[in-house]
C-alpha cells in the first residue's frame, strides 16, 4: 500500500470556540482519524497544529467545521503549512495568553439534556445540584472576568476542584473536560436563603424548599439567577402579583412568567413551532406569546395585553424551583424599573429592600448584569425587543458595508439614553453590550461605564473613534464627549434616525442607498427639533430627509410622553384650532384639570418643543380612540392601539381602508415631502362621533400608516426599504407594512439581530462612524 504523504498544518480558528467544548471535540476527532498535534485556546480563538496523512488532515478540517458542537460557531479558519515533526499523539495544551485578542466570548447557555438528566438522577453525585454544568451548557459571559476563557479568569476561580471534579476536568474524553465552571456539591457554590436582614435562614435543599414555600404563601422571593436577580411570585395568585406591582411601583407593565415546561406554557398560551424553538433555544429568552382564554394566570400578570412574556427554566436552579412549585411563577427583573438587574446579594439587600420578602442566594459571583432577553416571532422570524442573556456577546459581522474591504478601525459607539446598549466595532465585526437600561439611573450609568471598560478589555481593543447621538443631554453623549477629550480620539455624532436605519442595513449587509422608514418616540433631528416620523434616503456615510410627519408641539416636553392625552390635545389643536381642541376634549376629566394650562402652553409655545414623532402620534390616536390617556410605562398607549387593531383584524371587512394622509411637498424645500395627518384626525374624530369602535379606529389608523409608507416608497423609487425604530416593535404594523411593500415590488428589511428600538442604536452609530472616519 502506498504510504500517504505526511503534512503538518498550523490552523487558527476564530469564532465562538471557547467554553463550548471545542477542544474535547477536536481531541475526539483527532483520535478517530489518527491525526497528531495539539490544540490550545488563544486570545484569538483556538490554535491547532495537525500532523498526519494528508487525507486524514483534510478530513479533520472538514469535520472541524461540519461537526463542531452546536453551541460553537466557527467564523474563520486560517491554515498555514508547517514542517512535520514526527509527532504521534494529539494533546490539549494550556491556554496561551499573548497575541492580539480576537476571542468571541460565548453567551450564557441553557442547561443541556445530559446535565438535566443528571439533575434528576438520584444516583448521580450531582443529583439536585443547582450549579451543575458541562462544556455544552451553563453560564459563560456572566462569569467571565478576563480572557482567555479559563477557570482562573472566571468567578469560579475561588472554588478549588475536588478530586472527582478534577478527574472529569482533565479527561479529554469526558463531557466536562475543561468545562471551566464545573462544580459539584462537594466543591462548588452553595445555595442559601436569607431573610431581609441578610441572615441565613436555610441552606441548600432546605433553602430551595423554604423559598418555594414562601412563594406558595404569596410572598416575593428574590432569586439570584444566571445574569442577576429575579423577583418571583406565584403567577396564579392575584394578591401576590398585586403586591409585587405595588412594591415595585409598576402598576401596569406586564410581567414575565416562568413555566415549568413547554407543555405548561402551552396550557396558558398558544405556541407556534418557531416559538417553541425559541423557548428551548440555548439563549432561553422571554418569548411574547398569545395568552389563551383560560390560561390559569391571574389577569394582573399581563394587565390588559393579550400577550404573556413566557420562558422555561434555563438553569438547573430554575428547573429545581419549577419542579418544586409545579406551576407558573412571575419571574421579573430584580430591579426598580429601567435599572439594570441587581447581581450581588449584598446589593440586593439594599436595592430590593422593601420589595423582596426573602433572598435565595449563592456564592457564585456574577461578573456583569445580563438581563433576560425578550423576543417575538413575526411571520416566522425572530424580532428581538431586548437583547441580553443568550444573545450577548455574539458579535455581528458586517462585510458588505465596508467599502474597499478595509477593516474598521476600533470604534466605540455609546448608543442612546433609554434602553441603552454600547458597541465596540473592529475589523469586520461589531460587538454589542447587553441591554443596560435607562442611563438616567445611576445603576444603569455605572453598568454602562463598566461595559465600556469590559468590552475594551475583553477584546483588547483601544477605540480610535467614539460615536454618539446628536442629543446633547443624553448621558451617553456627555460620556462620549469626555471620552473623546480624555483619549484624544475624534467624536462622531450620528443623527438618531440615521443610526436606526444604518443598524438595520448593517444587520443585512446592505450597501448603497435605501429608503429608511425610521419611526419612533423621538430623537434629536439635525434641525434641533425632535424627529420621529421620518423617511430617510440613507446610506452609511450620510442621509437626506425625504419625508416626515407634519410637526406638532409636545406641551410640557417629557410630561407629554407620560400623558398621551396631551399629545391628543396638541394634535387636535393643530387640526381644529384652540376652540375645536377644547371642544373635542370637553368630556375628558384630565383635560378639565389641566386643559387651560395646556392651552396657554400651546398658545405661547412655552415648554412645548416641536416634533414629528410617530410614537407621539400613536399616543394621540390611542387617547382619542379612548384607549389610553395616561401611561405608566413607555409604549403603553401605542401597545393598547396595536392590540385593539389586532382584535378588529379577525373580522375586518375586505374593503376596509385607512384614514387619509395628505402628502405634499414641503413649502421651503421642494425635494421634501410632508405627511399631514390632519385629514386623518378629522376622519377619525368624525367616525368616533358616529360611534365607531376603538378597535376599528385603531385598525384604520394602522392601515393609514401602511398606505403612507407605500406612497412615500413610490416617491423614493428605491428598490430597498428598511423598517426601523421603536414603532416597528408593533407586529401588526410591521406585518402589514411588509406585505404592502412586498406586493408593490419592494424588498423589505426589518430587524432580526438587534432590536428596532434604541437598543440597536449603537450598531448604527458604529457603522456610520466607520464610514465617516474612513472618508478622511
Amino acid at each position: 500500500m502506498k504510504q500517504e504523504t505526511v503534512v503538518r498544518l498550523r490552523v487558527t480558528v476564530e469564532g465562538t470556540v471557547q467554553g463550548v467544548g471545542f477542544r474535547p471535540f477536536t481531541f475526539r476527532v483527532a483520535q478517530q482519524l489518527g491525526v497528531a498535534g495539539w490544540i490550545t485556546n488563544s486570545s484569538r480563538g483556538a490554535l491547532l497544529e495537525l500532523e498526519g496523512p494528508v487525507g486524514a488532515v483534510e478530513t479533520f478540517l472538514v469535520r472541524l467545521q461540519t461537526e463542531a458542537p452546536a453551541t460553537a460557531k466557527v467564523d474563520r479558519l486560517t491554515v498555514e503549512p508547517a514542517s512535520p515533526m514526527g509527532e504521534t499523539v494529539f494533546g490539549i495544551r494550556d491556554s496561551e495568553g499573548a497575541g492580539a485578542r480576537r476571542l468571541v466570548v460565548p453567551p450564557d447557555l441553557a442547561i443541556c439534556a445530559d446535565c438535566l438528566r443528571e439533575l434528576s438522577d438520584p444516583m448521580d453525585r450531582r443529583y439536585r445540584y443547582p450549579f451543575l454544568t458541562c462544556t455544552q451548557c451553563g453560564p459563560r459571559v456572566s462569569l467571565i472576568t478576563d480572557i482567555p476563557y479559563d477557570r482562573a479568569n472566571t468567578t469560579m476561580s475561588r472554588f478549588e476542584l475536588c478530586m472527582s471534579c478534577r478527574v472529569e476536568y482533565e479527561d479529554p474524553t469526558n463531557r466536562r473536560f475543561h468545562a471551566e465552571p464545573i462544580a459539584c456539591p462537594a466543591c462548588g457554590p452553595r445555595l442559601a436563603l436569607w431573610d431581609v436582614q441578610g441572615h441565613e435562614v436555610a441552606r441548600e435543599q432546605e433553602a430551595l424548599q423554604q423559598a418555594c414555600e414562601i412563594i406558595r404563601q404569596g410572598g416575593i422571593v428574590a432569586v439570584k439567577g444566571i445574569g442577576g436577580f429575579q423577583l418571583w411570585v406565584d403567577a396564579r395568585s392575584d394578591t401576590a402579583v398585586q403586591r409585587l406591582r405595588l412594591r415595585k411601583t409598576r402598576p401596569d407593565k406586564p410581567f414575565a412568567v416562568l413555566f415549568p415546561s413547554v407543555s405548561a406554557v402551552r396550557e396558558s398560551c398558544r405556541v407556534a413551532p418557531e416559538e417553541e424553538v425559541l423557548l428551548l433555544s440555548p439563549g432561553a429568552p422571554i418569548v411574547l406569546l398569545r395568552q389563551r382564554n383560560h390560561s390559569g394566570l391571574v389577569q394582573s400578570v399581563s394587565s390588559n395585553t393579550p400577550f404573556v412574556g413566557a420562558m422555561v427554566p434555563s438553569s438547573p436552579l430554575h428547573h429545581l424551583l419549577m419542579t418544586e412549585l409545579q406551576g407558573p411563577a412571575v419571574a421579573t427583573s430584580g430591579n426598580r424599573s429601567d435599572e439594570p438587574i441587581v447581581i450581588d446579594e449584598q446589593e440586593a439587600l439594599v436595592r430590593l429592600a422593601g420589595i423582596a420578602d426573602a433572598f435565595l442566594v449563592h456564592d457564585r459571583a456574577i461578573a456583569r448584569p445580563v438581563d433576560d432577553s425578550i423576543v417575538r416571532v413575526v411571520e416566522g422570524e425572530t424580532l428581538i425587543l431586548r437583547r441580553a442573556r443568550g444573545y450577548v456577546p455574539r458579535s455581528i459581522r458586517v462585510q458588505a458595508p465596508l467599502t474597499n474591504g478595509s477593516a474598521m478601525v476600533p470604534i466605540l459607539a455609546v448608543g442612546g439614553h433609554l434602553k441603552n446598549t454600547i458597541a465596540l466595532a473592529y475589523g469586520d465585526r461589531v460587538m454589542l453590550s447587553q441591554h443596560l437600561g435607562d442611563l438616567s439611573t445611576l445603576e444603569a450609568f455605572e453598568a454602562f461605564r463598566r461595559a465600556v471598560d469590559d468590552l475594551q478589555r475583553l477584546l483588547a481593543v483601544q477605540p480610535q473613534v467614539v460615536a454618539c447621538d446628536l442629543h446633547p443631554d443624553y448621558r451617553s453623549t456627555i460620556f462620549a464627549q469626555e471620552f473623546a477629550e480624555r483619549h484624544a480620539v475624534p467624536p462622531v455624532r450620528v443623527q438618531h434616525h440615521h443610526a436606526h436605519v444604518a443598524s438595520c442595513m448593517a444587520e443585512h449587509n446592505l450597501d448603497g442607498e435605501v429608503l429608511g422608514v425610521a419611526w419612533d418616540g423621538g430623537g434629536s433631528g439635525s434641525d434641533g427639533t425632535i424627529w420621529g416620523g421620518e423617511f430617510l434616503i440613507a446610506g452609511y456615510p450620510g442621509f437626506r430627509r425625504l419625508a416626515h410627519l407634519r410637526p406638532f408641539r409636545l406641551p410640557g416636553g417629557e410630561a407629554a410622553m407620560r400623558k398621551p392625552w396631551r399629545c391628543a390635545f396638541s394634535v387636535l389643536w393643530e387640526t381644529y384650532g384652540e376652540k375645536g381642541a377644547v371642544e373635542a376634549c370637553a368630556a375628558r376629566q384630565s383635560v378639565k384639570k389641566e386643559g387651560d394650562a395646556l392651552a396657554a402652553l400651546l398658545h405661547r409655545g412655552i415648554a412645548s418643543p416641536w416634533t414629528t414623532s410617530m410614537g407621539r402620534l400613536f399616543d394621540a390616536v390611542s387617547s382619542i380612540a379612548g384607549l389610553c390617556d395616561e401611561a405608566s410605562f413607555e409604549g403603553q398607549a401605542a401597545m393598547a392601539l396595536e392590540f385593539a387593531a389586532e382584535r378588529y383584524e379577525k373580522n375586518v371587512p375586505g374593503d376596509e381602508t385607512g384614514y387619509p394622509f395628505a402628502v405634499m411637498r414641503n413649502d421651503g424645500n421642494q425635494a421634501m415631502w410632508v405627511a399631514d395627518w390632519r385629514p386623518l384626525i378629522e376622519s377619525l374624530i368624525k367616525e368616533r362621533r358616529e360611534g365607531s369602535s376603538s378597535e376599528r379606529i385603531a385598525y384604520r389608523f394602522h392601515l393609514a400608516l401602511v398606505d403612507l409608507i407605500g406612497q412615500i416608497a413610490e416617491h423614493a423609487t428605491l428598490p430597498r426599504v428598511v423598517l426601523t425604530g421603536g414603532c416597528f416593535q408593533n407586529v401588526l404594523l410591521l406585518r402589514l407594512a411588509r406585505r404592502r411593500l412586498a406586493r408593490a415590488g419592494f424588498t423589505v428589511y426589518s430587524h432580526r439581530q438587534v432590536p428596532p428600538n434604541d437598543g440597536g442604536l449603537s450598531l448604527g452609530q458604529a457603522i456610520v462612524a466607520a464610514h465617516r472616519s474612513g472618508e478622511k
Binding site: H417, S440, L442, H471, D473, G521, G523, E558, A599, I606
Partner: protein
C-alpha cells in the same frame, strides 16, 4: 424718558431721583467716584471681595419682587457666597427710550429699600438712555464690594466625602414666578419670587462654622447646576435625597404641567452649602433662626463616587443621575 442724554434737565431729573432715593453721604458728594477709607474696611476682615452682575428680566415687576430687588440681592449674594460681608454697591442703568419716569422711580425706590434692608450702601451710579429697540425697557448693572473674615476659605473644590449638603429653603419659586408672570399660563399662581439677600444668613453660618467647604447661590440653572459644579471641581459624587429637598406644592404642580424639573429652576434667594458632617446640625439649627433660612434642610451628602456627578435617590426608590443640561430640557425619551 427721552433719548439723547446730556440734556441738562434730564440729567438733573435722574440725579435728583438717585440722590434723594439712595441718599447717603458718599453718593450725595456727586463726584465721579465713591471714596472709601481703608481703615474702616480693615476692621471687618483681611480680604476684599468684588463682583459685578447685570440684570435683565421680563417682566420688570413680578410677584415677590422686581428687577430692582434682583439687582441688589443678586450682587449682595454673589459677595456673600465667598463669606464676605457686603458693604457698597454701584448701580448702572441702561434705559430704553420711552420708559416712564414712574417705572424708573419705582425700580429705584425698590432698590433703595432692598439696599437699606440689607444694610448695604449704593455709593455710585450712572444711567444712559438708548434708542427704542436698543434695549428692552430697563437693564441694571450692579457691582459690589465686601470684606471677608480671615478664617473663611470657601471654594468649589473643597467638598469631601462625608460632607453634608444644605439648602436654606424651598427651591424653584423664582423660576416659576417669572414664568407665570410672563405668560398668563392659567395656573394658580400663588408662587412668589424668593428674591432676598443672603449675606446675614451666611454670616450666621460662618459664625457657627467658619470652615464651610462650598457655598454658592443657586440662580440660573438651579441647584442641579451648582451641585454639578461642586461635584466636578471637587471630584466627588454628590448624593441628594428627593424627599428631603423642599419644593412648594404649587411649584411642583406647575413643574408637572410644564414638564420642568425644580432642580433646574432659577432661585434668587437660595444657597447651597457643603459643610463638614459634624457641623451640619448646628449650622442648620442656626440658619433656621434667621428669616432667610427658616426652611433650611439637609438635602444630601458627599461621597467618593460617582466621580464628578450628582445623583438623587428618588421618591420611587431609584437613583437618578442629575446632569447639567445643555438643551432646553429637550425630551430624552425615545
Amino acid at each position: 424718558l427721552a433719548h439723547g442724554s446730556g440734556g441738562k434737565a434730564m440729567r438733573e431729573l435722574v440725579e435728583q431721583l438717585f440722590v434723594t432715593e439712595f441718599n447717603n453721604p458718599l453718593l450725595a458728594a456727586l463726584e465721579d467716584q465713591a471714596v472709601v477709607p481703608l481703615d474702616e474696611l480693615q476692621q471687618q476682615g483681611t480680604r476684599l471681595a468684588f463682583t459685578t452682575d447685570s440684570y435683565v428680566v421680563n417682566p420688570l415687576f413680578f410677584p415677590g419682587g422686581s428687577i430692582g430687588e434682583l439687582a441688589v440681592h443678586g450682587t449682595i449674594n454673589d459677595l456673600a457666597m465667598s463669606g464676605a460681608r457686603p458693604l457698597f454697591l454701584s448701580c448702572g442703568m441702561i434705559l430704553e427710550e420711552g420708559l416712564s419716569i414712574d417705572t424708573l422711580g419705582e425700580v429705584v425706590s425698590r432698590m433703595k429699600h432692598a439696599a437699606r434692608e440689607a444694610g448695604v450702601v449704593i455709593v455710585t451710579g450712572d444711567t444712559k438712555v438708548v434708542e427704542r429697540g436698543a434695549a428692552d425697557k430697563l437693564f441694571v448693572n450692579t457691582a459690589g464690594i465686601g470684606v471677608i473674615r480671615h478664617d473663611v476659605a470657601i471654594s468649589a473644590t473643597r467638598a469631601r466625602p462625608g460632607d453634608v449638603v444644605i439648602t436654606n429653603g424651598y427651591i424653584g419659586d423664582h423660576g416659576i414666578a417669572i414664568l407665570l408672570a410672563r405668560n398668563e399660563l392659567a395656573l394658580e399662581s400663588s408662587v412668589e419670587s424668593d428674591t432676598q439677600p443672603l449675606h446675614e444668613l451666611v454670616q450666621e453660618m460662618v459664625r457657627v462654622c467658619p470652615d464651610i467647604h462650598c457655598l454658592r447661590d443657586a440662580t440660573r440653572g438651579g441647584i442641579a447646576t451648582v451641585l454639578n459644579e461642586f461635584a466636578a471641581s471637587s471630584n466627588v459624587g454628590i448624593h441628594l435625597s428627593e424627599a428631603a429637598i423642599p419644593v412648594h406644592e404649587t411649584v411642583r404642580g406647575a413643574c408637572e404641567i410644564l414638564g420642568l424639573d425644580p432642580l433646574y429652576l432659577a432661585n434668587e434667594g437660595k444657597l447651597v452649602a457643603i459643610v463638614p458632617r459634624e457641623q451640619a446640625d448646628p449650622i442648620v439649627e442656626a440658619m433656621r433662626t434667621h428669616p432667610a433660612g427658616r426652611d433650611s434642610a439637609i438635602i444630601g451628602e458627599v461621597k467618593e463616587t460617582p466621580n464628578g456627578a450628582v445623583v438623587m435617590a428618588t421618591a420611587f426608590g431609584g437613583t437618578r443621575v442629575v446632569d447639567t443640561l445643555i438643551g432646553d430640557q429637550l425630551p430624552r425619551i425615545c
